[in-house]
Symmetry: C2
Subunit: 240 residues, 2 copies
Amino acid sequence: MESIDKVQGIVEKKELLRCAEVSPAVIRRLPRYHRYLGDLIRAGKMRISSKELAKLMGVTASQIRQDLNCFGGFGQQGYGYNVKYLHGKIGELLGTDEGFRAVIIGAGNLGRALAGTHMFDRRGVTRVALFDNSASLIGSKIYGIPVYHVDALGAFCREHKVEIGVLTVPKEAAKSVADVLVKNGVKGIWNFANMELKVEDESVVVENIHLGDSLMTLCYEVKNRLSESVEEKNEDIVHI
Amino acid sequence: MESIDKVQGIVEKKELLRCAEVSPAVIRRLPRYHRYLGDLIRAGKMRISSKELAKLMGVTASQIRQDLNCFGGFGQQGYGYNVKYLHGKIGELLGTDEGFRAVIIGAGNLGRALAGTHMFDRRGVTRVALFDNSASLIGSKIYGIPVYHVDALGAFCREHKVEIGVLTVPKEAAKSVADVLVKNGVKGIWNFANMELKVEDESVVVENIHLGDSLMTLCYEVKNRLSESVEEKNEDIVHI
């Protein structure tokens, strides 16, 4: 028995090692796998081949096998992946079972939209409070989440050991609110204030959302498609 | 004079050629330049060196010179870029002066948030209408944008030659709304419905927004930083 335990220990260590070496590029792709696997679970599909998953996600099966290789032998030939297991393992690596707590600062349209989604729960993140400075909102609940005055933010984060702060405040207020978060132990800032937030504390991560950049990429692509179709039409004329 | 014109013609052709060869990676980075340059204009800064811009954007000056190389000789040594000119040129390449028209479908929290931002105007996109199926909203205006019934969407897009549709509808409704858009001439879909939208018409571009993926990346980074700081603490204990 001891030797089997030893072997298993080595195997486990080996798998952990392989996962520790996951490249940043794969890490960036994992949330997308996690999302698809979550959808499959909700649709009642418990097993999927790399080929099926590849088709669904619009990538090659070999890419999938490479990306998911580190999670061990869950993709045996002809057997497929155990969807729930893989979903759980990817989630574990990404932090869904860390029990992170988040606060949303700013209860405007975007803050409300974020309060109303499943996005957080599905990633194991609990939204414990909203903060605003509008007197009419303080003391109310939005989608069940209590709204407090922003002056209480620091003390709240310390007391409730909040790890994540979601900034939906105006650009001008973002830096000062972020400073309060960082000073009170928050380790991750999800920034929707449409400016690139820099914090001095290197142990704090900032994820800046720039929807405008995405809109511009879309405009560029639309512009290109429109000019292509004009070119095609002109070619048609030449051929006639 | 003729020979000078000829030379200028060649130079212009050369510059156009250089711009035609802008790599997809650079294109992806251009919206960020556009955003920073827009902020500089609003702050009244009309000229900036590649060194200053590099510091501001947290990249190297040589990366900036390489990326902006295609826009011609606007970054002479010791003279710097003409901010407004460069902003305009990048915008032109990305499509800000195409006069694109957009409709937002879904007047919930997210639709309202998008109706209330400067994001569209700053990229030359006019939001001409919102669509919803809630009787209480039809006929009202949100941030000055009229709200119509979603049944009128197709005819409206055709009549007003709408190029861009912004989807903030529930996941289940996204595909059918997208089909109406595509059938009525819309060329770009900005999809917030939290599913990867596929349209059959290859001349239509879809830009899917997955905020949840960004949240997961943030969780992963926070998890890593927290475990790093635990490791550091343990090391401290060993050293004592």
